[in-house]
């Protein structure tokens, strides 16, 4: 990397001569190396899924959740520094709260995402802080229906039909593009999400992983909830089987 040693890459408040902010790019590196997270926006709901890498068999299964809840019907999956992800989630809850305090209803996701974008962006401005080392997928059902966004460490936030961040994002995006997302039901999307996470997981290189999923839809009464255990296991098993066929 040409940037190293030039001194232009040590602070978020420094541009390089060609106008780049290296610290933000490095923050992206923290995301690119960690477990994949995906989000699907389908006909009648949202599905979030993460590849939770398991480094020890002493860990409690199904604990240590990586998908968080921001509001009754807003879910968040992040990839990168986990502690940073919690910080962002806490802030998002505070933003939701302050919006409700004024308007007596939960914010549309677009509004929440805009506010979060500003928050994340502020950490790219000053030498006294570092940018967030995580990319965040936010999904919700609001007045406009199912919505899905990614917020990047730079503060950039775009809406998506299918979102993928982390190590396996390229392959995941390719898979997401093959789906007719706007025709899938939420339940079908659970199976697709499980399949994609299994597909992008690199068995050869990686440790074990646990599939974690959440959804928002008619079946959850519009709440953001973990995918029920039996459905999760069914999707997990189906994804494993499909992968074996795929390999053969």
């Amino acid at each position: 990397m040409t940037s190293i040693g030039t001194g232009y890459d040590l602070s978020a408040s420094t541009y390089s001569p060609d106008g780049r902010i290296f610290q933000v790019e490095y923050a992206n590196k923290a995301v690119e190396n960690s477990g994949t997270a995906i989000g699907l926006r389908v006909k009648d709901g949202i599905v979030l899924a993460v590849e939770k890498l398991i480094h020890s068999k002493l860990l409690v299964p199904d604990s240590n959740r990586r998908i968080q809840t921001i509001d009754r019907s807003v879910g968040m999956a992040s990839s990168g520094l986990l502690a940073d992800g919690r910080q962002i989630a806490n802030r998002a809850r505070d933003e939701s709260y302050s919006y409700r305090d004024v308007y007596k209803e939960s914010p549309p996701l677009k509004e929440l995402v805009q506010r979060m974008g500003l928050y994340v962006q502020a950490y790219t401005l000053y030498s006294s802080v570092r940018p967030f080392g995580c990319s965040t997928i936010l999904g919700a059902i609001d007045k406009s229906g199912p919505v899905l966004y990614i917020i990047e460490p730079s503060g950039v936030a775009y809406g998506y039909h299918g979102a993928a961040v982390g190590k396996g994002r390229q392959l995941a995006k390719t898979e997401l593009e093959k789906l007719k997302l706007s025709e899938l039901t939420t339940r079908e999307a659970v199976f697709e999400a499980a399949r994609i996470i299994h597909l992008v997981h690199d068995d050869a290189k990686e440790k074990e992983f646990e599939l974690e999923m959440s959804w928002i839809g008619a079946e959850t009464n519009g709440l953001h909830l973990p995918v029920p255990k039996d459905l999760l296991e069914e999707a997990d098993k189906k994804a494993r089987d499909a992968l074996e066929d795929y390999d053969e």
């Binding site: 190396n33 960690s34 002493l58 604990s63 502690a83 570092r130 080392g133």
Partner: protein, 285 residues
């Protein structure tokens, strides 16, 4: 000597997206003596090895009570642990005051995790230099969490932190099934001490002076055993010195490797899996 430009503060990422200051803080944990925690269905046990700075000095406290249902074990900078435990106590009292319910272990540990994260994202403060094992029994059962200065929190059936803690983890992994099924609190403590014993350097034995034991569970409020009270537990062990030092032809390769490194230097022993560790702290697990 090679000088790393990216490790002077916690607001600078390295070109590969790492935060060296945070990783160095994790190293500070390994400078501390070992602490081990393990959970059965009903109980959580924390045991720890205490150090004294000099022969005539007292031993550094390793276990701190937070509330009747919660306690912590620490490895690393003890003053940092006191700051965090004071904070935890405040949270616990708040929960009693406001809701008349014991603080959930998960809520407790995430509250200090979020506090710790802030120190990894601003210039002019250092990350905490202490790792904690947080044990609690609440309405959702017995729980053991590991807290790290990076702000990461993970729930374990068994965990060990501090110098040569890999040996204790190996013991816990091998005995995971029996530990999980253990009905008696006594047996759980013995397993904990066995694991702790495996972390001992060559010329050290577990004594009632250097060992702390604590337990919390369905029927037990958080209780710490120190000094003479520890002897009853040590009496239940087949030996108080490290198995690998007693018996040189250990059949396990991994262990043998560890031993060699152990004998050379505490630090490097864990350097062996430090890449592994850093990866796990800093990314997603």
């Amino acid at each position: 000597m090679f000088r790393n430009n990216y490790d002077n503060d916690s607001v600078t990422y390295s070109p590969t997206g790492r935060l060296f200051q945070v990783e160095y803080a994790l190293e500070a944990i390994k400078q501390g003596s070992a602490a081990v925690g393990l959970v059965s269905k009903k109980d959580v046990v924390l045991v720890a090895l205490k150090r004294n700075a000099e022969e005539l000095g007292s031993y550094q406290k390793k276990l701190i009570k937070v509330d009747d249902h919660m306690g912590i074990a620490l490895a690393g900078l003890a003053p940092d642990a006191r700051v965090l435990s004071n904070f935890l106590r405040k949270q616990a009292m708040n929960s009693k005051m406001i809701f008349n319910r014991p603080l959930l272990t998960s809520k407790a540990v995430y509250s200090i995790a979020d506090k710790a994260q802030e120190n990894t994202q601003s210039y002019g403060s250092r990350p905490y230099g202490v790792g904690l094992l947080v044990a609690g029994y609440d309405e959702s059962g017995a729980h053991l969490y590991e807290f790290q200065p990076s702000g990461s929190v993970l729930e374990y059936f068994g965990a060990a932190i501090g110098a040569r803690s890999q040996a204790a983890r190996t013991y816990l992994e091998r005995n995971l099934e029996t530990i999980r099924e253990t009905e008696s609190p006594e047996e759980l403590i013995v397993h904990g001490l066995n694991a702790l014993r495996d972390t001992l350097p060559q010329d050290v034995e577990l004594t009632y002076r250097n060992t702390s034991v604590s337990i919390v569970g369905k029927e037990t409020k958080y209780t710490i055993y120190d000094d003479e009270d520890v002897q009853q537990w040590l009496d239940k062990l087949d030996s108080v010195s490290n198995a690998r030092n007693r018996d040189d032809d250990d059949d396990d390769d991994e262990n043998a490797d560890n031993e060699q490194q152990d004998n050379q230097q505490d630090q490097q022993q864990e350097g062996g899996d430090s890449n592994n560790n850093e990866d796990r702290m800093e990314t997603d697990e």
